[in-house]
């Protein structure tokens, strides 16, 4: 990097040419409608913007962002439509299964699916929803273990580490773009003695900082906004996606987060640029920050957490499950007999046996839920570890705001667990209303054989959190990001004020 000199021909040209004259002219022109500070700021901002706009870096970055966002919209909508088809197939198959079934079938034979609806906002924050389980199938029978899986099985041969969504554009592309655009904002000008020249005009140093930050932000915000709008137009008109008010709130939230992130990334670039003596060194530092924040810390963090907080092995879980089974089943009497025979003592033995089985199921289910909760807990640890870096913090915030990523997966599983209670309550009610049923819950041969009204069977409905809940969940991260932004801004201002421009 030592050999690099950054010519900044654009600055030289504009500063010594028309732009410089324009700056002088405008500062001399009296304007009654704007305070002088504001006017100065605006002029510097315009100059910075003009320079950036003419540079190939801005064009390259704009092109990259636009292409990515359009490709992302097309791909995610294709994936969404495929998911919708699978979702409908699964619902139709479930309805067919219920048709002609009895209350006993409903309780013990049918696996009732809790299906996570297709993630329409995958283009926004995919959050691994195409890889995470989206169906939780459970029967009320104590012998049926719930199954967690995916309806739309992914092609295991195609493994992409990162989905191409808006969050990818924000985290990976906008951050790199901000660094590419802003790495030489101060040190580059300083190397060419342009900073000293700029400060010979009657402007405060902070004017320069604010104008540069604003210009850097606009250069990122405009392509991002245009890309977002293009993406939305494609999705709405070409791909036929319908968004409700909740979706629009999330879209607006991610767009705002993108704009906010662009501002923070610009600040990081300016901070490093102010602190560095050479443009090349500034870029090298920024590239390493980027590499650490986007690649290294998330990957290393999750591995470290996996080692520090290991999950029980499959065999350990199986052994604990077996212990539960043996402990419960060996305790107390209870036996299964043919129905006609069991009737004689009002199914007393069967009731005892069912009680034992239900108790065993409850304990095993508790174990399964405990292991699942620990998986999520581990992921939250990984996120907390990485939250010191803006890219990880932004990812976490985006997933909280739109209810994607682990928050969506965890919420789905917890709702799936609650769905069991709803099914049990409904089945119990039906069974109890049948006087001929032995009411041994939930054992197929000892329940009501009345036909089921398939349309009345409660279906799983995934509850999206309200806007208030989303904001409440995000408040700590919002505060963290705000603090990060304020600290960065103060650091840039203080550092630049103290900077020796020689």
């Amino acid at each position: 990097m030592e050999r690099v000199t950054e010519p900044q021909t654009a600055i030289l040209r504009s500063s010594s040419g028309d732009e410089q004259q324009a700056l002088e002219m405008s500062s001399r022109q009296p304007r009654v409608d704007m305070p002088p500070t504001m006017r100065t700021l605006l002029e510097i901002f315009r100059r910075e913007l003009e320079i950036a706009k003419e540079g190939f870096r801005f064009r390259l970055v704009t092109l990259l962002i636009l292409v990515l966002m359009v490709v992302s919209a097309l791909i995610s909508s294709a994936q969404y439509h495929a998911e919708v088809a699978s979702f409908e197939d699964a619902l139709a198959s479930y309805a067919a299964e219920l048709e002609g079934s009895t209350v006993a079938d409903m309780a013990a034979s049918i696996g009732h699916p809790a299906i996570k609806p297709p993630w329409k906002l995958g283009f926004l924050v995919e959050g691994e929803q195409l890889r995470e389980p989206n169906v939780y199938r459970q029967s009320l029978s104590p012998w049926a273990e719930p199954e967690l899986g995916r309806l739309q099985a992914e092609n295991p041969r195609l493994y992409a580490a990162e989905p191409l969504d808006w969050l990818f554009v924000i985290r990976v592309v906008l951050s790199l773009a901000a660094f590419i655009l802003g790495y030489d904002a101060f040190c580059g000008e300083r190397q060419l003695a342009m900073l000293k020249m700029s400060l010979t005009y009657p402007i405060a140093r902070w004017h320069l900082v604010v104008a540069k930050v604003a210009a850097g932000w606009v250069c990122l915000a405009v392509p991002f906004l245009v890309g977002s709008l293009l993406s939305l137009l494609l999705l709405s008109f070409y791909q036929g996606l319908q968004f409700d008010s909740g979706d629009w709130f999330k879209i607006a939230a991610v767009m705002s987060l993108g704009l906010w992130a662009a501002f923070i990334f610009s600040l990081v670039a300016l901070l490093v640029s102010v602190a560095s003596r050479e443009a090349a060194r500034s870029l090298a530092v920024l590239v390493f920050i980027w590499l650490a924040a986007v690649v290294i810390i998330p990957a290393a963090g999750s591995l470290v957490v996996a080692l520090v907080r290991p999950l029980p092995t499959q065999l350990e879980t199986e052994q604990r499950s077996l212990d539960i089974r043996q402990a419960v089943e060996h305790a107390g009497p209870g036996h299964w007999r043919p129905k006609e025979l069991a009737q004689q003592d009002d199914f007393a033995q069967e009731r005892k046996a069912a009680e034992k089985q239900n108790e065993r199921f409850e304990k095993q289910e508790q174990l399964r839920r405990e292991v699942a909760s620990r998986r999520f807990e581990r992921l939250h640890w990984t996120r907390t570890l990485g939250a010191l870096l803006p890219m990880v913090l932004i990812q976490d915030l985006a997933e909280r705001l739109v209810n994607s990523g682990p928050y969506r997966s965890q919420s789905f599983l917890e709702q799936g667990w609650r769905f069991r209670d709803i099914l049990a309550e409904y089945t119990l009610e039906l069974d109890m209303s049948d006087a001929t049923s032995p009411h041994v819950h939930f054992v197929k041969d000892f329940l009501s054989t009345e036909p089921l009204d398939a349309a009345e069977v409660p279906r799983f409905e995934f509850d999206e959190p309200s806007r208030r809940e989303l904001l409440e969940r995000s408040i700590s991260r919002l505060l963290a990001l705000s603090s990060m932004m304020v600290l960065l801004l103060i650091a840039v201002l203080v550092l630049f004020n103290r900077k020796d421009l020689q």
Binding site: A78, L291, S302
Partner: protein, 530 residues
């Protein structure tokens, strides 16, 4: 003169800030990844051994053929520490039976997670960090010297242009070989110490192949950087081009290729495959239902035997001691097996057809991503490390083949048409019903059933049943003699096979080098020095 240029370039790089910091970052990351990877490997190895031992014990305790489910295990690959690939992501155990086609179940450490922990291995570090370092070291190799007018100075000596560009490439290549070799060596050392692994000769050859892939990738990335430097008039624009190219090579091209292939071949193919599979499963279950109602009703005992056990996957262990009931069951089970094998064959065919479609998507992604040297490196290094999807395919193919051997074995034992499919009772062995009640189950009259149940629930009977169960479980005569069951043969992949599988990727990567080099020589020959 070439040597002088190389020496100058190496020295320049070695004292530069970007080289030093990148090398340190790379080395630290390689150490961290190797430690974490080795621990993960040891954990997976321990679980693999746990499962293997548990399985062998389970097999030794099997009493009837319907409960015999031999498993095929794939041991964790030690070289997964260098390239995790698919090794920990896909199942490494296939449990076989006659009713289902072989499907892998998971018994890895990370593979069983729903939430991926990320792939952080030496290949990733080489792909991401070394790739970036290669571009950072070469982006201004020509444009920078031109800006500082040192290029003119070089040409004022009697040095050929080819020697300058070759010297620059070789200088950067040799300089970067230091962090690459250091990271590689340290990773191998950690693998040996922390992973407790001794590599055999085949694996050593594959390690050399892996190193070759890294070196090839490094050369290509350096040449890309030199090209970008030749294309740009200024170092700053060259640097920006380099960063954007790196982003495209490492992330955007491979990800877009995968995303496009998923969108094109994903949903429809998977859906139709799943629908056909579901329909076939329903048809099979209907068939089993029909069979059950046709055969079992007439042979059912008046109530379930106290020492009969039904287990998963259509395995049955009955201890009723009733020859007439057993004879009835033989016919039923033989028919059930026939239907089961027929359907499992059909389902396997459906699955293989579906897999063919998944392969088409993979081929499309491979074609689309082939311009990215990073993608090529991934494919090649996975193949040499033995962690590619092809290795998983080999494992599945071996499992399928072994299932045929297993079915053949059962046929030679006449297992499907004998009592031994579902009971370990023999005319000479103690039989629980007759021992407990002095009669066979079908001999109980309807009016006597309640008295039998009362007898059965008495403390004395329960104790006796417990004793019998223990006695039967530990009776070697009642266990299957599996000494003649053929063993599974899982052969390793030779280095040549590894190379052959990725011949196209190797060809493209090693063709890119000479192409880029020729193009760089040509461009530099015409490069304006002023």
């Amino acid at each position: 003169m070439l040597r002088a240029v190389i020496k100058k370039e190496i020295l320049n790089h070695l004292v530069s800030f970007r080289f030093q910091i990148s090398s340190i970052v790379m080395l630290v990351l390689a150490v961290l990844a190797a430690i974490v990877g080795s621990q993960d490997y040891r954990l997976r190895q321990a679980r693999y051994l746990e499962h293997l031992t548990a399985h062998q014990q389970e097999m030794g305790r099997t009493h009837v053929y319907s409960n015999l489910h031999p498993s095929v295990f794939k041991a964790p690959e030690p070289l997964s520490v260098l390239d995790r690939g698919f090794d920990a992501r896909l199942g490494n155990q296939v449990s076989l039976d006659v009713f289902t086609f072989p499907r892998p179940t998971v018994s890895g450490s990370h593979g069983e997670d729903w939430i991926s922990v990320g792939d952080f291995d030496l290949t990733t570090i080489v792909r991401v960090v070394l790739g970036l370092l290669a571009l950072l070291l070469t982006f201004d190799t020509v444009s920078g010297e031109r800006e500082r007018s040192t290029l003119r100075l070089i040409f004022s000596h009697s040095v050929a242009r080819w020697a300058v560009i070759a010297g620059k490439f070789l200088g950067a290549f040799l300089a970067l070989s230091i962090p690459l070799l250091a990271s590689f060596g340290v990773s191998l050392l950690i693998l040996r110490e922390f992973g407790d692994v001794e590599l055999d000769s085949g694996r050593w050859l594959r390690v050399i192949g892996l190193l070759g892939a890294y070196v090839g990738y490094l050369a290509v990335m350096l040449l890309v950087g030199i090209h970008l430097s030749l294309l740009s008039r200024s170092s700053s624009s060259s640097l920006v081009y380099s960063l954007v190219s790196w982003l495209a090579i490492v992330f955007l091209i491979p990800q877009s290729a995968v995303a496009v292939a998923t969108a094109v071949h994903g949903g429809g193919a998977l859906r139709s495959h799943r629908l056909v599979l579901d329909e076939t499963t329903r048809e099979r279950d209907r068939k089993f239902g029909e069979l059950s109602s046709e055969f079992l009703k007439e042979h059912d005992p008046p109530f379930q035997a106290p020492v009969a056990d039904q287990t998963a996957r259509r395995g049955n262990l009955l201890r009723l001691g009733s020859p007439s009931l057993y004879d009835g069951r033989v016919e039923y089970f033989a028919r059930e097996v026939e239907v089961g094998i027929d359907f499992s064959t059909r389902m396997e065919q459906i699955h293989l057809r579906g897999d063919e479609k998944l392969r088409q998507a993979e081929t499309l992604a491979r074609i689309l991503a082939s311009p990215s040297p990073a993608f090529l490196l991934d494919r090649i290094s996975e193949s040499f490390a033995g962690t590619s999807y092809d290795d998983h395919d080999r494992f599945l193919a071996a499992s399928r083949q072994y299932r045929e051997v297993f079915i053949e074995y059962l046929e030679t034992k006449n297992a499907f048409r004998s009592w031994r499919w579902f009971t370990d009772d023999s005319p000479n062995a103690p039989q629980p019903w007759t021992t407990l009640f002095g009669v066979q189950p079908e001999q109980i009259a309807a009016e006597d059933i309640q008295s039998f149940i009362d007898k059965f629930q008495s403390e004395e009977a329960q104790d006796r049943i417990g004793e019998l169960k223990l006695q039967f479980a530990s009776d070697p005569e009642r266990r299957l003699d599996l000494s003649d069951l053929p063993a599974i043969k899982l052969s390793g992949v030779s280095p040549m096979q590894s190379a052959r599988r990725v011949a196209i990727e190797l060809g493209v990567l090693f063709l890119l080098g000479p192409l880029l080099a020729t193009s760089a020589f040509y461009r530099f020959a015409k490069y304006p020095v002023r």
